[in-house]
Symmetry: C2
Subunit: 306 residues, 2 copies
């Protein structure tokens, strides 16, 4: 099954900026967000409400949220790891929260100091806080593979979805390939199983990393399983600056180039997006990824040399 359009969630301003050690000035973040918006991005994980001590890069979350709120039609999603941060985000007028928890107990412990079951209770508390005009997404990290424990049993992911589904059937369920180590067959299988088992859940999304070069292949597998909301990061930002080669999120430009070739509409202008990605690539400490940007830049150079 495939749809004729796909909704890209640009996560570069959050997942892409977060691992960059050197603080990106708020005005520069805002400029990059403007460029993304001007390229046609209409949904964005714009920042995270997290401890500024733990993640100084995200300390300007309220200012960025206020900046984004000036843009008509932009669906602004902000990451929150706890009830307390959800309260902070809502107080700053966030109306689309992304709550993150991990299927893998070890990863959840490392990431948010909770068991997955404790995180389900946090989710329950956050849902209770939501004003009527707010939306929530669930980012289920390590839905397929864990950096500590390797492949994750699909049953574990489905069981966690079941516990969460009892709390909210309205949330968007985003299954995340945190390590980039899942293969397209498993992505398709898990989404098909999940959609069959939870007919009451109508909002699914996929979030993948391109570490081993399977970012686009995995996104297409999700798309072919009927998932039309896909996360990606401009410039393929999101890698670890201390481990060259461990590149980050699948690149937005790789996805929209591919979907355009397939006749699937994204509403995003590739050349304007590439301008934003080229600019992001100049950020000190940025680890860029993706392939389409280099390929098209090389093509331009060839044409200029011809």
């Amino acid at each position: 099954m495939s749809a004729s359009l796909v909704s890209i969630v640009e996560v570069g301003p959050r997942d892409g900026f977060q691992p960059i050690g050197e603080f990106i000035p708020t005005a520069l973040k805002a400029l990059l967000i403007d460029m993304l918006y001007d390229a046609g991005i209409r949904r964005m994980e714009a920042t995270a409400f997290v401890s500024p001590r733990a993640v100084p890069q995200m300390a300007d979350a309220p200012q960025l949220l206020a900046h984004c709120a000036t843009k008509p039609g932009l669906d602004i999603q902000v990451l929150v790891p706890s009830q307390r941060q959800a309260e902070r985000a809502l107080a700053a007028d966030a109306r689309h929260l992304a709550f993150v928890l991990s299927v893998s107990p070890k990863h959840n412990q490392s990431n948010v100091l909770r068991t997955p079951q404790e995180s389900v209770e946090d989710f329950r508390a956050i849902v209770a806080l939501l004003p009527p005009d707010a939306k929530i997404r669930l980012n289920l990290a390590t839905s397929f593979d864990c950096p500590f424990d390797g492949p994750v049993d699909p049953a574990a992911t489905l069981n966690l979805v079941e516990a969460l589904a009892k709390v909210s059937a309205e949330a968007e369920y985003c299954l995340c390939d945190t390590t980039g180590r899942v293969t397209p067959d498993r992505v398709g299988d898990l989404f098909r199983s999940a959609k069959e088992r939870f007919p009451q859940l109508r909002h699914w999304a996929f979030h993948g990393h391109d570490t081993y070069g399977l970012g686009v292949a995995n996104a297409l597998a999700a798309f072919n399983a009927g998932v039309s909301v896909i996360d990606s990061s401009f410039g393929g930002l999101g890698g670890c600056p201390f481990a060259p080669g461990a590149t980050g999120n699948v690149a937005t430009e790789d996805l929209i180039w591919t979907f355009a070739k397939m006749g699937v509409a994204t509403g995003i202008d590739l050349s304007r997006l590439l301008e934003a990605a080229d600019k992001a690539a100049t950020l000190p400490g940025a680890c860029v990824g993706g392939r389409v940007r280099d390929a098209l830049n090389a093509q331009t150079r060839r044409e200029e040399m011809a």
Copy 2:
């Protein structure tokens, strides 16, 4: 449909070395071939019989062929673009020829100075030359997309296959994505159409480039359409040294890493293959590609730092 094993054709020694301007000493080529063989590669496009004036890098084809012939169980495929070169290859004891022609008339003209129909006649002449113990593959360049004319009509590819099928039903038909611009949906569709239209052809293969990051995705699409012979190049060699970013063949290590995760046997040892790829990456003028090598090297560095 999927098979439980896949046969990798390592094309690095031909497609990978060919665009490298600086001559790679024959002994070094032989050493890299040895490393590939020791990693478990059992089918290889080892060299090309082409005009040494036009492609000096391939001038040592007879010596390399003789070197490969010492390796038990190695299926040694050599590229030939014309009847005359096929005669040279057979005289040097080649027993597996790969004849290249292009679906796109403009590309065929540029590559071998023939119309596709003239190349079909060349193929007929070559088939007539083959001793009983020889095999032949057809590399149908630009089966999906042409660097000059863009997307290729599937009907053009299928019609060329039809003309060739009248000459030989025993040949292996390799549909090649020369530009890296095809998407997985089109790869799957074309192979399914071809297999349905030509039930008499039993040997199919796919050859793809990773220029836009779809190399593995396209190979998997071919595999899922029942194609179990896939070309790839160690280190992702095969790019154009004058156009950085225009990377080459899909990397063998990316494919075998992915197939291993999927439980599909390739018979190839990843860590030994990576040694060969690491060595190839040091060749002066080599443009390497792929993602798995960098990701695993980064992982090793992380572990060493931990």
